[in-house]
């Protein structure tokens, strides 16, 4: 199977009765994802597109045997929602919500770690295994099934690259949007490791950006443990230092986290780094 999700994933949507949650739940179902229900406290007993709505994750999991959850609730409730999912025994939580305070996320990430729940995000577009299932907001049209893995901090940039790959005839095993926040549940290295161990994946595109050192750590992993080829792009070469470029995590601080150092590290590790994301399909071909 592909990494993280395939057509067997049973998915709950936390916040399914909300505008965003409901909209994307429908698109996911149209894509073929097995959405088994949703959770909105106070709306248990209602129905959404023929799927049951529950008050709590615990009752939802008991009834549906869901193993994956998508969190679409507002920032001030999102941390609690992720912890609820982890506490209910969910294997994989994907959190779309942006603007969650870092202090909350530090606790949430620790909470998930202690309970063995994998968290993707927050502030991410989600995960898609083309042709099988998608959990999140990645548009169906940006990718076709294939053997290239994609891991990215960004949303639309990922669509851009996936779409360019599709136009070049390159299919994708799984797209993982890890999110652009400073503290996230799953890092580049963890996803690279999954791709390295995934028989369906033969090569990987890594889309990073300025801020933090996750790409540097990924470069170490690529050099030391990765046998599959990696093509990369790092956004933010033209970004000034000390300014936060939209994503909470995208900031060059005290000389650390610049695009240049990341590009150097990735190239030194043997990854091919594109200056223009539209070159990625060529580097992967």
């Amino acid at each position: 199977m592909s990494i993280l999700i395939d057509r067997s994933a049973k998915v709950l949507v936390q916040g399914i009765t909300g505008r965003q949650g409901g909209f994307h739940a429908k698109l996911m179902m149209e894509y073929g994802t097995d959405v088994v229900g949703g959770v909105t406290p106070g709306k248990g007993g209602e129905w959404f597109e023929g799927k049951p709505v529950f008050d709590t994750m615990r009752s939802a999991v008991e009834t549906t045997n869901a193993d994956v959850s998508l969190v679409t609730v507002p920032a001030r409730f999102a941390g609690d929602a992720v912890m609820e999912a982890a506490d209910a025994g969910i294997r994989l939580v994907i959190c779309l919500t942006e603007h969650i305070p870092v202090a909350d996320m530090m606790q949430v990430v620790e909470f998930c770690r202690q309970r063995g729940t994998r968290l993707i995000g927050p502030n991410c577009p989600g995960v898609m295994t083309p042709g099988q299932a998608k959990v999140g907001i990645i548009p169906a049209m940006v990718a076709m099934p294939g053997n290239a893995g994609v891991v990215s901090k960004s949303g639309t940039l990922t669509y851009e690259v996936g779409f360019a790959m599709k136009n070049a005839g390159i299919g994708i095993s799984t797209i993982v949007g890890i999110g652009g926040d400073p503290v996230i549940g799953t890092t580049f290295v963890e996803v690279l490791e999954m791709f390295e161990n995934d028989p369906e994946t033969e090569k990987v595109a890594l889309l990073g950006e300025i801020g933090g050192s996750a790409e540097i750590v990924a470069a170490d992993y690529i050099r030391n443990a990765m046998t599959k080829p990696v093509a990369a792009f790092i956004a933010g070469r033209s970004a000034p230092a000390g300014k936060r470029m939209g994503h909470a995590g995208a900031i060059v601080d005290g000389g650390e986290g610049s695009a240049e150092e990341k590009i150097q590290a990735l190239e030194a590790a043997g990854a091919r780094v594109a200056a223009n994301p539209e070159e990625i399909p060529g580097l992967l071909a």
């Binding site: 300014k243 470029m245 939209g246």
Partner: protein, 386 residues
């Protein structure tokens, strides 16, 4: 959100951290009055949201109140790295025996608060980290368990703090950690924390940055926001809920998504740098891109006189490109920009969107298919005007 030095230190004081008995002045006369009260040597410090104010002449030591008035007069109104000084802090001079560095910050990799402490305070932590990384003690805090007493002993012991100061150091570190968590700070830094001639600890300079995403639960701190040195365009964007950062180039960028926005900037530089052409701004229009938002963003971009061309780069995913195209046309008609606009729509209903743009037959509107093409055409449009 950055706090000024004086705001940071007054916040520290609320958490039991000893600070100098200084006050803020917005005029030379006020500085004179404060200095007279303090009676002795004072330090006049510019309060601006930028580093390196000392080298820029924004910090002066005055021997008496008359000197304080003179220096305050010099510093108030001064321009430091493009920011105007509107306030000075008048602090009593401290008897400094030793300068300590002490800070708590979010460690992104570990996903935990990180305490950094060093007996070699005073200088910039990045500078210290480059020169003598081994002089910095680093200690993570469990985000649930919080800071434990044994960790404070470890830090004091590992950094080589004299035992006489362990107890007061622990009290300050405890207060700083509380300040950091209760204020949702990304950074709470004391530099220097000094040991005075009497062996007391004193937070002589401080810096606090609050997590913007947590401001909803920090009303008292939000009230302290000082936007007097923020560029007008960034303030307007913030109020309109748009993320905008002014840069030095000529191509105004309007993009959906932060990663793609940075990438679009990068592309203008990739193809324009040889001719001195690059991005005029970062702007993420977000997911919706309604005509109203597009119009507001367009006005903000055009408020920058350097802008010679606007580059739209929209990857329609959930958003349909035909809707965005209509939004752009509406905004165009409303704002009526005089500079050329390169429009690149890709993704869902891109063909329809591009038809709408080309059918509008506006001479200033240039359509592009790929990101590469869009960036190149924007660069060309700027060059044409040179």
């Amino acid at each position: 959100m950055k706090l000024h030095e004086y705001q940071s230190k007054f916040l520290f004081r609320d958490f039991g951290i000893p600070i100098p008995l200084g006050k803020v002045a917005t005029s030379a006369d006020e500085a004179f009055a404060i200095s007279s009260d303090l009676d002795g040597v004072v330090v006049i410090k510019a309060q601006v949201h930028v580093g390196g104010r000392g080298k820029a002449g924004g910090v002066k030591v005055a021997k008496n109140a008359a000197e304080a008035r003179q220096y305050a007069d010099d510093i108030l109104g001064m321009d430091i790295k493009g920011l105007r000084v509107n306030k000075v802090l008048v602090d009593p001079g401290a008897d400094i025996q030793q300068e300590i560095y002490l800070a708590i910050t979010n460690d992104r990799s570990a996903g935990k608060p990180l305490i950094m402490a060093s007996m070699e305070g005073g200088m910039d932590i990045e500078e210290l980290n480059r020169q003598r990384p081994e002089a910095i003690v680093r200690e993570h805090v469990d985000p649930f368990a919080g800071l434990q007493d044994y960790q404070m002993t470890f830090i004091a012991s590992a950094m080589g703090l004299p035992r006489a100061q362990w107890r007061s150091f622990a009290k300050i570190l405890r207060g700083l950690y509380q300040c950091y968590t209760e204020s949702d700070a990304e950074l709470a830094e004391i530099n220097p924390l000094v040991i005075t001639g009497e062996g007391e600890l004193l937070a002589v300079d401080g810096k606090v940055i609050i997590d913007d995403n947590a401001l909803f639960r920090q009303p008292a701190l939000v009230e302290q926001r000082d936007t007097s040195d923020e560029p007008e365009s960034e303030r307007l964007a913030r109020e309109a809920g748009i993320t905008y950062i002014k840069l030095e180039g000529q191509i105004g960028c309007m993009v959906n998504g932060a990663g793609l926005a940075m990438t679009t900037m990068d592309m203008t530089k990739l193809y324009g740098d040889a001719d001195g052409i690059g991005p005029a701004n970062f702007l993420d229009i977000g997911g919706g891109a309604t005509p109203e938002q597009v119009a507001a963003a367009l006005r903000i971009i055009l408020s920058d006189e350097n802008v010679k061309c606007v580059l739209f780069n929209i990857f329609g995913g959930i958003t349909r490109c035909d809707e965005v195209a209509n939004g752009i046309l509406t905004a165009y008609n409303e704002v009526n920009p005089s500079v050329p606009m390169v429009i690149r729509l890709q993704g869902t209903n891109a063909a329809e969107g591009n038809s709408i743009i080309s059918e509008a037959q506006i001479p200033n509107l240039i359509s592009a298919d790929t990101l590469t093409e869009a960036a190149q055409r924007a660069v060309a449009a700027v060059k044409e005007q040179a």
